[in-house]
Symmetry: C2
Amino acid sequence: METYTIFRNLAIIIIFAKVCGIAARKLKAPQVVGEIIAGLIVGPSILHLVEPTTFLAQMAEIGVVLLMFSAGLETDLKELLKTGPIAFLIACAGVFVPLFGGCLLHMCFYGFNPIGDPGFVTSLFIGVIMTATSVSITVETLKELGYLKSRVGTTVLAAAIIDDIIGIIVLTFVIGMRTPDSSMGRVVLKTLLFFVFSIIIGILSYHAFKWIDKRWPHTRRIPIAGLAYCFAFAYIAEHIFGIADITGAYFAGIILCSIKDSDYIAEKMDINSYMLFGPIFFASIGLKTDIADFSMNILWFSVAFVIVALITKIIACGAVAKICRFNTSDSLKIGVGMMTRGEVALIVSQKGLSVGILKPVFFTSVILLIIVSSIATPIVLKFLFNHDHSKKAAA
Amino acid sequence: METYTIFRNLAIIIIFAKVCGIAARKLKAPQVVGEIIAGLIVGPSILHLVEPTTFLAQMAEIGVVLLMFSAGLETDLKELLKTGPIAFLIACAGVFVPLFGGCLLHMCFYGFNPIGDPGFVTSLFIGVIMTATSVSITVETLKELGYLKSRVGTTVLAAAIIDDIIGIIVLTFVIGMRTPDSSMGRVVLKTLLFFVFSIIIGILSYHAFKWIDKRWPHTRRIPIAGLAYCFAFAYIAEHIFGIADITGAYFAGIILCSIKDSDYIAEKMDINSYMLFGPIFFASIGLKTDIADFSMNILWFSVAFVIVALITKIIACGAVAKICRFNTSDSLKIGVGMMTRGEVALIVSQKGLSVGILKPVFFTSVILLIIVSSIATPIVLKFLFNHDHSKKAAA
């Protein structure tokens, strides 16, 4: 292959991803769904314009690491500590109930496997995909309704962030289980060691970055150092601790989220992401999906997958909120606010695919979940708030 | 190779490039020289931390195309038309005299070859490398001295831009000559066809972009469309017309340089460039350089190369300026202002390397030229202006 053909592929992907992304947004679906469909259209399934290449896969890998780094950078640790324990409990329930539900669902469809079996890890992984809440659509809806700063709003926001952190720990753990020779003890040990490493290096590098930040605020060297830090963390996580590179990148982001120029770094990362790496990542999911693999069985599984993913979040988060003395209506709102899924579900699936736990065809279920949850959440939330409002007005 | 090792390589390159770049700037040398040295340090020549891989080569190729696109975008067509014919004549002399000088120099060192022979193309290519003026250091010096808006200043600026355009046409032509079976006539025809294509598509797409720009000013879709446009042009130039992808990217930039949001596009491209692709490109030059190839012969050649490159520009541009009725002192200033070389010389050399016209060892000469010219230009210019000033004061 001549080097210049990469320009052809990139031009096609960028244009199709942007056009489909805009179209998706007009149809009230998330933009990333449009980008995935763009990949499906230009890929081997339909137009055969672009074949998946190693280069595109590597660019997509950079894209996913940048996305996770940005997610970490945008974490607001202060806000988290404020809402604290209640959000933590809601997040825990919101991770483990869907995890269990997803695992059980996969077993019902594809058979029960003993612990340690590759089939069991796949079942567990389907659960892991269900864990991560994507809060952006809920945030937008609450903002629109004027309830973002309400107790429900801040609780959902904090719970969603903690939920991501717990979700990524679970992912790390499940990924560690994939190699048959790795004993449970070694996986736990490596994961623990990684956390100890992250805390020590995190504290040291946080102060180093604060120093750079103070001496040369708003200079190019800050985002550049941040980017190198993210790549280094991703590499060390995977190479030394056998932990997913995305976990490393996410932690790198969390470590830097409290320095003064974190927004400045995030802004520069965002430009890199939305211009090139983001579209390539999402389109590459579509590229790899082969519609020939699609079957009725997968369709039924996907429908069940969506139902289980939504119901488990609503029930688990809602119930814990109720236990923590929210009223029934607010508890329901919290449950619904937590049910949206987005990029992170795709990123986790991609990781599962690349380490061989997941088959590409399961992306269909994940994409369906993202579409349904992103469309349903604003509608249901608006209904709940308006219903509440009119009841109060009537009283 | 595991995918995650790309993160290791990227982290190392980004950090070393930035640190060496800053160090170079402190020593009054151009930042890119620092980045090249960073590549040399981490590469197989010294530390063996990073090996040149296909992935890095492809990233570097994207980097070089982005750099040329930015160069095109930053062209000020209005300024060009204002200074017009005189700048055009100076630029022509500044391209063809060094082209001839460089070609002759290579022949003196490595033997004369008949026209059409690969050796002849290499000699010609050494001349092509000498053509492109990098005006940024001159601009900074003139700004500092307060002469940027003087007649000398605007003339140098315009001549340097026209010089780039003519230089790239010559490059296109010489690259076309590399395949032995391509007759001179075919090369001319393909080059002409590419220009006709560029003008037609250029006019159409200029209006399309103006329309997008008017409807959605300052939105993400503008730089995204710009990026796709640049990649598409680079691909079409090379695939259909057999013309260097960098020529395509440069033309894409010139086509878009007059739309309202061209600065906005350039700004986003810059972020992509300085964060990742730029450092990778310059470091990859260092990576590929093997100091083992270095010999006394190359050292002498490099010294002669630098002298010829500087003298030919000063004489050619200065003489034409003098003919165009600048006084002797101003003519000399114009000649000196035009003698700096920078990124474009490297980009052209890289192209020669990738198509097999040039050996990696010649990069030494180019790097030396960049260092010497960037350090000498400000010193000589300041001396000339101050000398002038004190003479006037004495009179």
